[in-house]
Amino acid sequence: MVSFFSTLAVIYRQFLVWKKLFWSSMATNIANPILFLFAFGFGLGRFVEVMGGVSYMIFVVPGMMAYSAMFAASFETTIGSFSRYYLHRNWNAVLSTPVTLAELLLGEVLWASFKGTISASCVLFIGWLWGGVESLSGALFCLPIVFFSCLCFGSFGLLATAYAKGYEFFSYFFTFWVTPMFVFCGVFFEVNKFPDFIQSLSWFFPMTHLVMVIRPLTTGLPIDLITILTHGSYFVVGGLVAFSLAYFKIRLKLFD
């Protein structure tokens, strides 16, 4: 059985560290979307007037939200988790207490989702100031969905951590997992502009599903609950598979 309090204790530790680094974390969370929106909104926006039926700025803000959430969650359960496990041997310490491996890993993923959501919120805030959000209520409704999707992204990061032997390993993860989600999943361009095989590939990545849900919400376009749930189930299934694989691999690595 997974104990709520033990999982919370794992998250509490992360929170304590984050509190100390709050302002630097916020500065990067705010500066990142400003840089991106400036470059893409003004730079590319001058040449691309309309994409997906809306102005480019309105098009790109939800994409950036999804991307920064994915990146933050993935970073947390790869470089972050791996450092705690490998460099600081923090996991060994935690596991010598009543906290179980499942609770430890769940805490890591939940925390990653929190950070991902904070990151997306900052993009949303800047994007809204910039005039890139048409429906604020729709945009706020995105945040729990983003949190949910981050459970999936975080679990995939954890899976990479489970197989990593050193930091170098993560260059594969970032090149073949994070970067494709940046360029092929509808962050900056519509997915249907790509050749067919890229399009089918893009649906494999959870990112595409996230963008498909939150773009209509921030732009105020109609989207029904069934569509949201269909895409959402992709996060659930993907997340559960990745989490379980990561759990069994890490258990083998630590306890055998």
Binding site: S3, A9, Y12, R13, L16, R89, S96, V99
Partner: protein, 300 residues
Amino acid sequence: MSNNLIINAKDLIKNFGIFPAVRGLSFSLKKGQCVGLLGPNGAGKSTTMRMIMGLCTISGGRLDVFGASVKNISRKTKSRIGLVPQENNLDPDITVRENLEVFGRYFSLSNLILSKQIQKLLSFMSLCEKQTLPVNVLSGGMKRRLIIARALINDPELVILDEPTTGLDPQSRLLIWTRLMELKKQGRTLLLTTHYMDEAQRLCDQIVVIDHGRVLDQGTPKDLIDRYVGAYVFEVKKPHRLGLEKLCVNFEDIGQSILYYTRFPDEVMAQLSGTSQYNYRPANLEDVFLRLTGRNLRDN
């Protein structure tokens, strides 16, 4: 009958792939005892400790902790144990005090108990003035003290210490020894590994010498010394022609000279007088250890 056995290992086996790290280890730990698990590097000490904590699966045999098998070690059992690991795995991102606080949360301690425990342990380990410092600025001795304090946060009945004083200055070791003695007086059960035989001799009621994953012998430090090395060791320069062997428990050729372990120092000295170059001293646990595990290097 076995109610006061805190740890009971019977024919315990652990294989890492094809490498047998522990091969048929049997020993037990009674309530309130301090038992020293001694052995050269790679003898299987840390693996055994990890198995006791449920941090390492067992490949064969039995291992009971607080009367239940470690195979599915319960949350309740783990909350009765405190572990001082060999590696310094303190949390470098938070302060001394926060390290204790976070650990208390892992044990789901209430705020009230936790703040009392933190205060008590900071002063027990002489860390009060350091409590707001980040862990990185602590000296090796302070880090070790903090790790011990951390292992005590849950007021454990069993404390497992994996080389608690390795690499520390004499003052730090002395403080840790005093504290470990106090823990013993409080009725806690201690399981200790160390490479310092004086430490084991001073702290342990019972010694288990292991090598290559097997128990070589066990007993009180006094018994073991008496059994293997008598009371005194004479180191006699070669060459010499004395029939000292019959006065000795054991003897050993170490190249330039021969070591004679004896219970009758006066007789040995009488035989030696005027004939050979020698020196002598009381026998200790280190002599036992080297007798049992040999003098060859183990790191490879």
